[in-house]
């Protein structure tokens, strides 16, 4: 037995993870610590979530051990999924238990994400004393910035620049001065950064936002045109560019909505525009208001679900998509929204049930699992390819396709055992 206490009902993994998603760490800890069995600690989701929240609540590393292998693979899989507590737990475990020093910077990043900036600063002081290179100076600076210790943050970023120039450092200096209202120095650092890293999209975007706010519209527009020539692939950048689009666009749409208050397409366009700008809360309020007026469609529900997702309200995102799925008779847009949510939240068992419904609607989406799986396999993204192939085998009725995929799956499993691909 690892923990004390009496055994209660079997641990409900979903309930445990939902408590963590909603920030109820103490309640989640209580569930785990009342368990007699250690078998749950073979489940990476539970084990590393536990390690993460244990530190957040108690401010100390739990010396629990697990037999989970392939920590690198888990780390790659969890990147950008939004599960900050378990990613934090994984980093803690790798640094303190596995003694992987190379993970230190990732650990500091994840501490910042979990709101432990002060503790991260103390850990840096304890583990390495003074920063030794520009990356460590930047780490300290980001933490100080998070704690609103602007002057100290600026000093560390400037020391980092002396050691080695980096677009992130210039960008941070520009943003801090902007936050402090010193547009002159803000502009100076963005410009300086762009002299050296002239195609850095983050610097370009933030510089364009600053110029737009300063009323230098022509200069801002020139940068936007430059950015549009790049392939822009993240919501962050979309949001950045959205914020510097001419405001008249929004006013026109709102006028149009006054003229046609029942136009679902105008409601959808305004909602999409707001979300693109990064105004997530405003999008949610706007769409909810319009829906109260009866302006409802599958696409509007889907957009609302995405807006909740991007504001980290995951259970609302799921609830609204499920409700709409019933209301609009398994509309494909809503089914795909649910697949998106479940993939991002790693609720893979739920993905399967939705894929089975999608198969009845449009089997091409199931064939897409095959095709995308092959593309990911070819690109060496083997764990994700394997997941798609496994879904395909579960859902597809295509006998030939399944024969082929079975062969590919065998190859992938061998490669993963040999440590190839990610």
């Amino acid at each position: 037995m690892i923990f004390g206490g009496k055994k209660k009902d079997a641990l409900n993994k979903d309930e445990f993870l939902n408590l963590i998603s909603n920030g109820k760490y103490k309640e989640a800890l209580a569930i785990i610590e009342s368990e007699e069995s250690s078998e749950y600690f073979n489940d990476p989701d539970i084990f590393f979530s536990y390690i993460g929240i244990h530190y957040i609540v108690n401010k100390e590393f739990s010396s629990m051990k697990c037999s989970i292998k392939d920590l690198n693979e888990i780390n790659d899989k969890w990147k950008f999924t939004g599960f900050i507590e378990k990613a934090f737990g994984l980093n803690l475990y790798r640094y303190f238990e596995q003694k992987e020093e190379a993970i230190f910077n990732d650990l500091i990043d994840s501490m910042e994400l979990c709101g432990l900036s002060k503790e991260a600063l103390e850990l840096i002081k304890k583990e390495i004393g003074q920063p030794r290179n520009e990356k460590e100076y930047n780490n300290v600076a980001f933490l100080l910035w998070e704690l609103k210790k602007y002057k100290e943050a600026l000093n560390y970023f400037k020391k980092s620049l002396v050691l080695k120039t980096n677009p992130i450092t210039y960008n941070s200096l520009g943003l801090i001065y902007n936050e402090l209202g010193n547009n002159f120095l803000s502009e100076k650092y963005f410009k300086q950064g762009l002299e050296e890293f002239d195609d850095n999209i983050t610097l370009l975007t933030n510089y364009a936002v600053l110029l737009f706010n300063l009323g230098k519209l022509e200069a801002a527009n020139n940068i936007i045109l430059k950015i549009q020539n790049y392939q822009v692939g993240t919501n962050f950048l979309h949001a950045g560019i959205g914020k510097i689009l001419p405001p008249e666009y929004e006013i026109d749409l709102e006028e149009e909505l006054k003229r046609c208050p029942k136009s679902l397409s105008v409601v959808l366009e305004i909602g999409k525009y707001m979300l693109k700008r990064g105004d997530v809360e405003r999008t949610i309020d706007f769409l909810n208001e319009e829906m109260k007026k009866g302006n409802e469609s599958a696409k509007i529900y889907s957009l609302l679900s995405y807006a909740y997702y991007y504001s980290f309200k995951f259970s609302e995102a799921e609830t609204i998509a499920l409700k709409a799925k019933e209301k609009f008779d398994n509309n494909i847009i809503l089914l795909l929204t649910l697949v998106f949510l479940y993939v991002r939240r790693e609720k893979y068992d739920k993905v399967l049930s939705i894929l089975n419904i999608i198969k009845e609607k449009d089997v091409m989406y199931i064939e897409a699992l095959f095709n995308v799986g092959l593309a990911l396999e070819n690109a060496g993204v083997l764990t994700k390819a394997r997941l798609l192939f496994e879904w395909y085998l579960d859902v597809s009725d295509n006998r030939v396709g399944k024969e082929v995929i079975s062969l590919h799956l065998e190859v992938i499993n061998v490669k993963l055992r040999l440590g190839q691909g990610g």
Partner: protein, 151 residues
């Protein structure tokens, strides 16, 4: 020798009349390939379109030092149709996945069909357009699924 009634079983040709199918098949050559045999080489110049009668073929490209599978096609499906309409080299290699029987239509035969039986050539072009359109639709679905991972 392939009988026209075999073609009738394929979805793309199922609505053609017996007379049209009998005429259509005359323009094709028949060839059998063994497992792993290469039918078409990437970057080679060729102006033939292939219809799979039996077996399966693998569309592949060489990248990062290995042959990567792009798609598996099976009986009733066409490949190489782009070469009838453009003069670019083949965009991928096609290899027999298992022993297969194929019907081959050369550009010359297609031109003959156009001269002798315009109605048949139009029906065939329509079928190619349908195939391309289905592939485009499939590509769109692929992108939607891919976006779940990347955006």
């Amino acid at each position: 020798m392939v009988d026209f009634s075999e073609l009738k079983k394929f979805e793309l040709l199922s609505k053609w009349s017996d007379g049209d199918l009998k005429e259509f098949i005359k323009y094709f050559d028949e060839k059998e390939y063994k497992t792993n045999e290469i039918i078409v080489n990437e970057q080679s110049v060729g102006q033939e379109v292939y219809l799979i009668i039996t077996g399966k073929v693998r569309i592949e490209r060489e990248a990062m030092g290995s042959d990567q599978t792009l798609k598996i096609l099976e009986k009733g499906e066409f490949f190489g149709e782009m070469s009838l309409f453009d003069n670019y080299p083949r965009s991928a290699t096609v290899r027999c996945f298992d022993s297969s029987k194929l019907l081959i239509l050369s550009k010359d035969s297609y031109e003959k069909m156009r001269t002798k039986n315009m109605k048949l050539a139009l029906q065939f072009s329509e079928m190619i357009i349908k195939t391309l359109s289905l592939r485009l639709r499939q590509t769109n679905k692929n992108l939607e699924i891919l976006s779940l991972w990347l955006i």
